[in-house]
């Protein structure tokens, strides 16, 4: 990892060069339906992007795991069935101005996507993508990245982290991919830029650290041991089981596989986003459903993210972005719930020694 300086002019030139080579460049863009909101969208011009304004409404995961994607094409013939493969190599793309919470999520999901069987579709896109993240100064009261071991200046999942300083950016060049991207555009960073960046990074961390305490190491074990705790019966009464939280989450990756006809004798097999919050997720063909009410389904969400995934992969399946809470139509608030569960797990000296 090296630190360099990238001026505003050079940054604009870099992006213009990428756009000229028809590399897809994805960046935060002001939403048409609501000018106060932002989405990660492909840009045609550098000016279309606005950096550091607001956390985009949805995560960047759709550029690696689309809401729907074709796994294969099939065609019935007189001789049987022909399969046409889909490419696993993806065209190059750059994600610009991603928040650390979004890109860290990619590295977290890499673990399950690479578990024994390599998901070539996911990794094809991962390999084809260079990620330039920005120091986050957009936190609101719902953010809690530091509680899950990340930070507004986390390097995880990123190739370059840009920190705004006078005249441009202090560029943390994290990977060789990042180095290749910035080659020719960056210069030595002077002491002032280094100091400014460090101060900005510290300030950002302090702005979010107090939102939720760090999840203790014992928490995954407590969750596993408290599978039958009565708290699950009441903690999610207001949850509709709508799955909006999973749609906007940077780490939710559960999917369904379906076949669809495109004509009488041909069609596709697709993989589609799915969510453990829906009532059909675990429904057997026999009609039996191991998770019969929203209490059990919400328990699964918490258990998967904060106990099961950590126990299998050593990673919390959450990056603290807070989108689940912001998007919930039923007023569920995950960081608040986590805080309540953590207090239940560790009531504090007063409760233990009344």
């Amino acid at each position: 990892m090296t630190r360099r300086f990238l001026s505003h002019e050079k940054f604009a030139a870099l992006v213009a060069a990428l756009l000229a080579t028809n590399t897809r460049v994805i960046a935060p863009v002001r939403a048409k339906d609501d000018p106060a909101q932002f989405d990660y969208l492909p840009i045609q011009k550098f000016r279309d992007a606005e950096f550091g304004a607001r956390l985009p409404r949805r995560s960047a995961k759709e550029y690696f795991l689309p809401a729907t994607e074709v796994l294969l094409h099939y065609k019935q013939t007189k001789a049987g069935v022909e399969i046409r493969e889909v490419p696993t190599e993806a065209p190059p793309q750059v994600i610009l101005g991603a928040t650390p919470c979004d890109v860290a999520g990619l590295e977290v999901v890499d673990k399950v996507m690479g578990w024994d069987y390599c998901d070539e579709l996911w990794f094809g896109r991962r390999q084809a993508t260079t990620i330039v993240s920005f120091l986050c100064n957009m936190m609101d009261a719902t953010c809690f990245c530091t509680a899950v071991g990340l930070a507004p200046d986390s390097f995880r999942g990123s190739d370059v982290l840009l920190v705004p300083v006078a005249g441009g950016y202090l560029a943390h060049v994290i990977t060789s991919k990042g180095e290749a991207l910035l080659q020719g555009y960056v210069v030595e960073a002077d002491a002032a830029a280094l100091a400014d960046a460090e101060a900005a990074q510290n300030e950002a961390r302090q702005a979010v650290e107090h939102h939720l305490p760090a999840i203790p190491a014992e928490f995954p074990g407590w969750l596993a041991a408290n599978f039958d705790n009565p708290v699950w019966k009441t903690i999610a009464l207001r949850c509709h089981g709508c799955g909006a939280c999973a749609a906007v989450c940077p780490t939710c990756h559960c999917f369904d596989i379906v076949d669809e006809h495109e004509s009488v004798d041909s069609g596709v097999r697709r993989r589609n986003w799915d969510s453990c919050q829906t009532s059909l997720f675990t429904l057997h063909a026999s009609g039996h459903n191991p998770r019969q009410s929203q209490s059990e389904r919400f328990r699964q969400r918490i258990q998967h993210k904060f106990s099961i995934y950590p126990s299998r992969f050593g990673e919390i399946l959450c990056t603290g972005c807070g989108r689940c809470s912001r998007s919930c139509p039923g007023g569920m608030d995950l960081p608040k719930l986590l805080g309540e569960l953590m207090t239940l797990a560790n009531p504090g000296p007063e409760a233990r020694n009344p």
Partner: protein
């Protein structure tokens, strides 16, 4: 080729086991794949009807018999209904083998008791045939198999072959009311049949599969007979899609049925949260 792409299989033979249960004998269309393909008893696959979808079944034939695999299924949902409409010569997709397997190696030099109910014989049959194909490497072999009625017994051809063998003890049972006038087997539920048939647990493994209610009432019998939890094996099923640990659907607590299972010991089952 990505991990979700199945091998193409051709249906070589169709056997109707019962009114609603069918067995397909499948062979790989690609001889290179056929040559390389190997699996262990207890593993499963994702079988597809193109245009309808995929369904999860165990591999019902043993690894000792090469050149084909078999699966047995009941036509219950969209995919299995479509599978039932296929004919010999039609194409089926297959992804696998997935999951863990029965401890065939560890069972060598020991005795085995196989217990199955209804279509639960399918995953167990794979292990039974595996053992019988290597018969002299195992001590005593006992099979207790039952169903609701005579009509519901599957693999009738094999049942007749096993009845002829002198190197295994076979007990067939149907539930009270399920017998026919010429039924020669037991009229009793599985737990009772097991009690009457299994005399020793010394140096013996138990493999059991069947409807959840059968397992629920038979496990205590096995425990009472003296089987330790580590020597009772069963296979679990759960709603699956990818079969290889990524789609997030089949977990029971931290255990993924497609990766840590589908074969589990009774001791492992006791540790699982009650969510299956």
């Amino acid at each position: 080729m990505n991990i979700y792409q199945p091998h193409l299989m051709r249906i070589r033979e169709i056997t109707d086991e019962t009114v609603d249960t069918r067995t397909l004998k499948l062979e790989f269309q690609d001889s290179g794949v056929a040559e390389q393909f190997c699996f262990s008893a207890g593993q499963f696959g994702e079988y597809s009807v193109f245009g309808e979808g995929e369904s999860t079944f165990c591999i019902a034939s043993p690894p000792t018999r090469t050149g084909y695999i078999e699966c047995s299924f009941k036509a219950s949902g969209k995919v299995t209904q479509a599978m039932r409409r296929l004919a010999v010569g039609d194409t089926v997709g297959f992804r696998g083998p997935y999951g863990n397997h029965f401890p065939i190696e560890e069972m060598k030099e020991h005795s085995v008791v196989f217990i199955a109910g209804g279509i639960g014989l399918a995953p167990v049959r794979c292990a039974i045939l595996n053992v019988l194909d290597l018969r002299d490497q195992f001590k005593d072999v006992t099979i207790v198999y039952g169903a609701r009625s005579v009509g519901d017994l599957v693999y009738k051809r094999e049942l007749e072959e096993w009845a002829q063998r002198s190197d295994l003890k076979l007990c067939l049972a149907v539930d009270p009311g399920g017998e026919t006038p010429d039924w020669k087997g037991l009229v009793a539920r599985i737990p009772t049949a097991v009690e009457q048939t299994v005399t020793t647990t010394e140096d013996t493994f138990a493999i059991i599969c069947g409807p959840p209610i059968m397992i629920k009432f038979t496990l205590p019998v096995l425990v009472k007979l003296g089987f330790p939890g580590e020597r009772i094996f069963t296979t679990l099923e759960n709603r699956m899609k990818c079969g290889l640990g990524k789609c997030g659907r089949c977990n029971i607590g931290p255990t993924y049925v497609c990766k840590d299972g589908p074969v589990f010991t009774a001791a492992q089952m006791r540790e699982l949260p009650q969510e299956f």
